[in-house]
């Protein structure tokens, strides 16, 4: 997980991962679409491969990179669990706020009378 975060913190690597979500691509194709030169792309792909975010397949003369779903899914699952905890708290806070607003209103109404 630590590695996944660090790898994705670099904006161009994040863009590469976003692109690969739509399907596997060759190195030069990635470079063209994201306007990056090949050494840059290769460097980023190497980091992504080291943390297990992508895997490579050799087809004829080309290296095709593909996303590995598991690390991203773990990250997503954690953020979702974290989000649900906050959601529950905020729903509880909504109840309290309703209660406070109602009390305030009743109080104001009484004052007006």
């Amino acid at each position: 997980m630590i590695e996944t975060f660090a790898a994705l913190a670099e904006p161009n690597r994040f863009r590469i991962v976003e692109l690969l979500r739509r399907g596997p691509r060759a190195v030069n194709d990635i470079g063209e679409r994201l306007h990056l030169n090949q050494p840059q792309v290769s460097k980023h792909l190497r980091v992504l491969k080291e943390v297990g975010l992508v895997e490579v397949q050799h087809q004829a003369q080309q290296r095709i990179y593909e996303l590995r779903a598991r690390p991203l899914r773990e990250l997503h699952d954690w953020l979702e669990r974290y989000r649900r905890i906050w959601e529950e708290r905020f729903d509880q806070l909504d109840e309290l706020i309703d209660d406070l607003s109602t009390k305030e209103k009743t109080h104001d109404d009484r004052k007006r009378k």
Partner: protein, 170 residues
């Protein structure tokens, strides 16, 4: 889905969580009330006790003290057993009711994770308040640690697991 939960969905405001960098998380939510009320609910211990602990986790906020002024301290004791509470503590750095609050935060059971800095902004529009909660962890390892401990679910005893999950609550 039942009709009831479908109608709840229409009225409920959305909670979003975004990872903004390797050590920052941002939580947002809108409340149907003026900022003044939302700010009170965040800062008055007697009100915090009524919403802060997520009920589905079966935990309670046993003690809650907050000296809400710049340099003032706070301490939340929560969990399952009041005799062995989990504790969040820290200091208020900025206090600007009802729109902004900045505080430091340590989860005492995981002191090594260091101090996080949390900024809450309450922005009011037409009687509603948007809350943006920005959490900057001390190091990327602290955030990763919170996440990693949440990931190990199912590998340890429920209570321990919950402790770690609770450590990542704020």
């Amino acid at each position: 889905m039942t009709t009831e939960s479908a109608s709840e969905r229409v009225t409920k405001n959305k909670t979003t969580v975004e990872r903004r960098s390797d050590r920052e998380l941002v939580v947002t939510r809108t409340f149907n009330a003026p900022a003044r009320i939302v700010f009170d609910a965040w800062t008055k211990p007697e009100l915090l006790k009524r919403w802060w602990a997520p009920r589905s986790l079966g935990v309670s906020l046993f003690r809650c003290e907050a000296d809400v002024r710049v340099g003032g301290g706070y301490r939340y004791e929560f969990g399952h057993d009041p005799g062995q509470p989990l504790v969040f503590s820290g200091t208020f750095r900025e206090v600007a009711p009802p729109s902004r609050l900045v505080w430091t935060q340590i989860f005492e059971q995981m002191r090594s994770a260091g101090e996080a800095v949390v900024t809450a902004t309450f922005t009011e529009h037409d009687g509603k308040t948007e809350l943006v909660l920005h959490q900057a962890f001390a190091t990327k390892e602290a955030l990763d640690g919170a996440i990693a401990s949440g990931m190990e679910k199912g590998m340890r005893e429920t209570y321990e697991q919950l402790e770690d999950l609770l450590g990542s609550l704020r």
